[in-house]
Subunit: 253 residues, 2 copies
DNA sequence: CTCCAGATTTGATGTGGATCAAATGCAACT
DNA sequence: AGTTGCATTTGATCCACATCAAATCTGGAG
């Protein structure tokens, strides 16, 4: 679908305007981090396609052939897998500047689905060409390795969460994690709009949707947060963090 | 500290004999997979140090500076982190041919401890030099990316396990995983010796040690396996796999 | 606007695994 | 052999969360 769009003639103009990593504000969260301008423009050449994905549509599906990584330019995604009996397990939530698809490198097949939770745009990064460029630019190589490693650390702290924490702690950790990631993008750390349903939160955190809902209510009653459907405001950040103090030295989700 | 070890006694002789990736039987599980001989010898040059780690000793500790990855030449390790209140969470078990330490790339600080569960030997791979070599050898680059990606996939399937499965299923999945990895190394898929305690298994699987013990007993009573302290034999592999049939990811669309 | 399917909240009840407790087994000592 | 300290097993009880159920809310389609 988006292939057709790219080939249109007027595209190259938009192209130069919109696609360049060199003028992307997300640079320091994304692949270009730490690159000098000269190298940045090489990265620009690599990303010759952008895709927009409407809310509810998938960016890729589990089982399909892997060719590209995707950097989120705008929007919000979940990655998820289905079990044989049809239940779904959410494996992550992803926001602007984050790279999706690295799990597929090991087998050349996507291990999970990626679905937009709001209207989104991604930069498509052909992986073979990225590997070539990585060999030319040490700083890009280092940043790419960091991104993969960060994903491993992130997954391992989710493992700790699922293995050790009770419901209240899990939800607190989840909210604090969203808060931090919002802050890193220049948005409010204390108030935000949830893009996912209670069920998706529960799936990610190993809880049932009813438990997520009850826990939100409980945290609200106890003055940690206010919740109004998808809107969450953290009222007492310190106390919320204190809920987790005994769970982990550093690696909180 | 490891520098000191290298200096003592007869070590350098063993060195030349045993260190070469080129004659290492683990090659296809490890970094050298797919490399032509010419490139292999370059990899040999990189690995100029081997460390032996006695049972119970750590290979590295969380919080220490990261310099090298480690390939397990012989032995068995756990990686684990401590929570503030002193509980430990096991984040993985690692056997011959596997690479440890990739989680530290993101921050240059080790995110977890690595402790030998039996007397072991590892090849130390200085990371900066590995990155240099990776830029020279595309096949090595690809294999390294696969290894990182595989770790991500592995962690995500543990997340699914912790989020979805009941105790019996978790233990079955754990045993089947060990079985597969043994088989991949040319050992028996049906019978093996557990290197870790019930408590460590429980920590990894999000269960208490008593639950692990009870579940072993239950699986034995029902004819799936036999357990005699650390020795486990899988009696009915098919039925054991069937326990998981409805949990496994369905990658078809 | 109304209608309707899905999302959320809240209550009542059940249960799997945690917790508490105690006996036994086993390896490394002396 | 006896002692010590940890690992394991097994039983009894408890509780956090799942499950079942129902009411309410919400947003999108017509």
């Amino acid at each position: 679908m988006s292939e057709a769009v790219v080939k249109d003639n007027q595209k190259p103009v938009l192209h130069a305007l919109k696609l360049a990593c060199s003028n992307c504000s997300l640079a320091e969260l994304c692949l270009p981090f730490g690159l000098p301008d000269a190298d940045l423009s090489q990265l620009d050449l690599l990303i010759d396609q952008r895709r927009s994905v409407r809310r509810g549509e998938h960016l890729y599906q589990a089982g399909t052939h892997f060719e590209s990584l995707y950097a989120i330019r705008r929007g919000f995604f979940k990655t998820h897998a289905l079990t044989e009996d049809g239940r779904e397990q959410v494996t992550g939530f992803h926001m602007t500047g984050e790279i999706m698809g690295v799990d597929a490198i090991s087998t050349d097949i996507h291990a999970c689905h990626a679905t937009a939770l709001e209207d989104s745009e991604v930069c498509e990064i052909p992986f073979t060409r990225l590997e070539n460029l990585i060999r030319e630019i040490p700083a890009l190589q280092r940043q790419f390795h960091r991104i993969m490693s960060r994903e491993i650390v992130r997954d391992q702290s989710v493992m700790m969460l699922l293995g050790n924490m009770r419901a209240e702690e899990r939800v607190a950790a989840f909210l604090l994690n969203l808060s931090q990631r919002n802050a890193a993008r220049g948005y409010s750390a204390s108030g935000f709009h949830l893009r996912m349903t209670r069920e998706e939160i529960g799936s990610f955190m190993g809880l049932k949707l009813e438990t997520v809902s009850r826990t939100f209510s409980k945290l609200q009653d106890e003055g940690y947060i206010t919740v109004d459907k998808k809107r969450v405001d953290i009222i007492d950040m310190e106390r919320l963090k204190a809920l987790l103090s005994h769970c982990s030295p550093r690696n909180v989700l």
